[in-house]
Every structure is written in C-alpha cells, then in structure tokens.
C-alpha cells in the first residue's frame, strides 16, 4: 500500500500517477454533498443556472456532518453510501468534477464516466468519524442551510485519508 500526500485541486495528469488501493492523504477544500444537494446541483445544470461553486476545482465528499460540539472545529464526519449519488454523477463529471469521496461501489455507468473524464473516486472508511474529524482544519455551512445535515458544507482538511477505488 503506497501512501501519497496530495493537495487539492487535483489535475488529470496527477490522477494518472495513482493506482487502485493507494492511500492518499488529502489536503485542501472538500464540499459535502448528499442526495438532496445532488438533486439540486443536477437541476441547476439542466436549467443552465450557475452552481454555488466551481465543480472543476472541487472535491465532493458524500457526507452529512454531525453538529459541532463546543470547543471543536467540527463534529463527527464520514462518508455516506456513494451509490445513491450514481444517478446524478455523470452530469457532474461532464461539468468538470474531478474528485469524489464516499463509500462503497459505483455503477458501471459512473465507473465509465470517471474513466472518460479522467476523474478519481476515493473511498474512506465509514464509521471512523471521530478520527476523520481530527483532519478538519475548518468547517462551515456553505449553502442550502435549510437542508440541515444535507446542506453543502465547505470543509478544509489536512491529511484526510482516502483509498483510490476508481480511476
């Protein structure tokens, strides 16, 4: 198992250097997005409206954080099941998305789209949320606050561990 430190955003040329099962220690900005946020992002693209952030520079983390207890930078964080986002992922990849972090397998269609667009899908371990929260440098609600845990959060991380699952 290779362990490689990386800085976000990632470019396709960098992604080419990785192999399946590499452990990446990721530093940079992640945007969380779950089911409802994916639905909204897809609707905005279809309606030709601007997105709240630039997909090409972003990494999506399929996560709904727990509330931040007093004195902590953020609450418990961890991946939710990526397959639920499969239906909405090819359109995001077509619009520049390069990095996705979640848990579990992806559909054939998403796998093909990831390869076509030279993007990368990483899995991180589910159910190690206290540990993952230690890698968070800052965490704030970015948009769609009304969705609660399903809002988009902007999360700056340092050495966040992910394993290369699809490239």
């Amino acid at each position: 198992m290779r362990i490689i430190k990386i800085e976000l955003p990632l470019k396709s040329e960098e992604i080419k250097m990785f192999t399946i099962r590499d452990k990446l220690l990721i530093s940079g900005v992640l945007y969380t997005a779950r089911d409802q946020a994916h639905l909204r992002l897809n609707q905005l693209i279809k309606e030709g409206k601007p997105l709240p952030f630039n997909l090409a520079d972003s990494a999506l983390f399929y996560c709904g954080p727990a509330p931040t207890p007093p004195g902590k930078v953020c609450g418990a964080i961890g991946p939710t099941t990526s397959a639920r986002m499969d239906k909405y992922t090819p359109l995001l990849l077509e619009n520049g998305l390069k990095v996705m972090i979640g848990k579990g397998e992806r559909s054939k269609e998403v796998t093909n789209a990831i390869r076509k667009h030279r993007a990368i899908y990483l899995i991180c371990v589910g159910g190690i949320s206290a540990l993952l929260s230690q890698t968070v440098v800052s965490c704030e609600t970015f948009c769609w606050k009304e969705l609660g845990a399903e809002a988009i959060y902007r999360m700056e991380v340092k050495d966040f561990p992910g394993y290369v699952a699809i490239i």
Partner: protein
C-alpha cells in the same frame, strides 16, 4: 394478584439519556473484540490499515465523547415490559421520545430524520433548533416486575442493504443460506463492512423483519438457541467471509463479524426470511430497570 411495581417516569427518562450517552461514542464491547480478532487474522495491508483506523476511532471517540459515526441513526427500542409493573405517567412512547430528543441536543448528535419520507410532499424546512427525532418502539409483554430496554442507534447505510423474502415452505436450507450470503456479499462496501448480520426466520411478513432486528440488538445466551441454528450461524459466517468482499468491500478476510438468527413458528404456506445488517459501528445496549 400481586401489587404493581411503579417505575417513575424520571427513572426511565434518565436511563435512556445515559444509555444513549454510552453508545453513541462506542461500539459494543463484543464488537470491539471481534474487530480485534479480525485484525489478528488479516493479511491484506489495506484491510489492516482500515481495521486499525476503526480501533483507533473507538478509543478516540470514547475519550473525546464524539460519535463513532456521524450517522447517529434512527433510535430503535425494544421494550420488554413486565406484566407486574406500571410506568408512572407515560405513555412509554412519550417518555422515550422526550429522552431521545434531549439526548440528541445534549450529545450533539445529527438530525437524520425527515418527517415526510416523500420529500416533494412537504415544504417543511428543517430547523436544527427544534427538530425532532423519530423513535421506533417495539413493545412486548413479559411475566415479572422488570422493564427491559434494548436500545440501538441504527445507521441508514447498513439498513438500506437489508432484505425480506417470502420463500415457499419447501425451499431447501441451501437456497435459504445462499439468499442470506448473497444479500450480505452483494451489498459490497455499502453497509460499511465488517458488518453484523441479523436474520429473522418464520413468523410472518412483519414479524420476521422484527426478529431480524431483534437478533442484531438483543443478546441471547447460547443455551437458548437450538443447535441447528447455532450451526447455521457458523456456516453463514464462514460462507460470507470466504467470498472475500472484506473490510469496506475493499478485500480482506472478514466481511461479517457475526451472524445471529431468531426463529418463530410460521404458517404452513410460508417461510419468511428477513436479513437486517448493521455496520461495525454497532451501537446497542440492554438495560433492566
């Protein structure tokens, strides 16, 4: 008729708050032992790395009082109520519900409940200040003057990989076992393996699902279990792990830590089988009042 033992509302309320306080930041001791056992036999370097992270997380979460998983789930309670007790005030659902809501604020747990399952039916905007938790409460009556509460925080990812099938009564044991193994194995990394597998066999449509959940949550002494079912549990565990899906579906020797079966009589026309899966963040506790 013996006099009824009165259990104060406050005692039930505080017991539930304390119980949630214990389990949101730690898996059951048995689960942690099983994760340690899985690590001891693992050879794959990524799987070992992941198992080590799980154990480190258990330590850190307990120390820092942080949730072991950000999905602190939906609360499931089996309340086995002695027929010689009376719970003061009540109803029990109201007491449990208030305790769960207060525990959610006290421990900073995540609101994971939508009160309208079909989201487009409701313009309801979740307000974190006054959001409500939902509790699944299963009541049953037992002889005696005790109240037994089995409490679990059940995450959504593993729950989604659960399945129920109404088999024909002449279905072979092999077919049933294949169904259980395939259900767990085909879930891959989605339910956050290593998982725990609860199986309900018999009853009827809804009862076998409840049995599967109870098999996951409620400890049963080995002496209470028929040897046929004990052997079946061992066979299923071996077969699931032989398929090699492994830790988080990324390979390794352990996909499931444990299989537990509960069975009940059923109609001669039926053979209901339900499978309920829980992740390694197995947050359960049993308390007797």
């Amino acid at each position: 008729m013996p006099s009824l033992r009165i259990i104060p509302e406050k005692q039930v309320y505080e017991t539930i708050i304390d119980a949630i306080g214990k389990i949101y930041c730690q898996s059951t001791p048995e689960t942690i032992t099983l994760i340690n056992n899985a690590l001891a036999i693992e050879e794959d370097d990524v799987a070992k790395d992941m198992l080590n992270a799980m154990l480190k997380n258990e330590e850190l979460a307990a120390k820092e009082k942080l949730p072991i998983c950000q999905d602190t789930g939906i609360v499931v309670v089996f309340a086995d109520i002695g027929n010689q007790i009376k719970i003061e005030n009540g109803p029990l659902y109201a007491i449990v519900s208030k305790a769960v809501n207060d525990a959610w604020r006290k421990y900073y747990l995540r609101d994971s409940i939508t009160f309208e399952p079909i989201r487009c039916f409701s313009n309801h905007i979740q307000n974190p200040e006054n959001s409500q938790q939902s509790v699944i409460l299963h009541l049953s009556e037992l002889p005696g003057n005790k109240l037994e509460l089995h409490i679990s925080l059940k995450g959504g990812g593993a729950e989604n990989c659960s399945l129920l099938k109404m088999f024909n009564p002449t279905t072979s044991l092999r077919e049933i076992e294949d169904f259980i193994v395939d259900t767990v194995v085909s879930s891959g990394g989605k339910p956050c393996p290593p998982v725990l597998v609860g199986v309900g066999i018999g009853g009827n449509f809804e009862r076998c699902a409840i049995l599967a959940k109870r098999a996951l949550m409620v400890p049963i002494s080995p002496s209470e279990k028929k040897p046929e079912y004990k052997k079946m549990e061992e066979r299923l565990l071996t077969q699931i792990n032989q398929k090699g899906k492994g830790i988080q579906g990324f390979g390794g020797k352990t996909t499931a830590l444990k299989v537990s079966i509960l069975s009940e009589p059923c109609h001669i026309a039926s053979l209901p089988v339900a499978i309920n899966i829980d992740c390694h963040a197995h947050r359960c506790i049993s308390i007797t009042i």
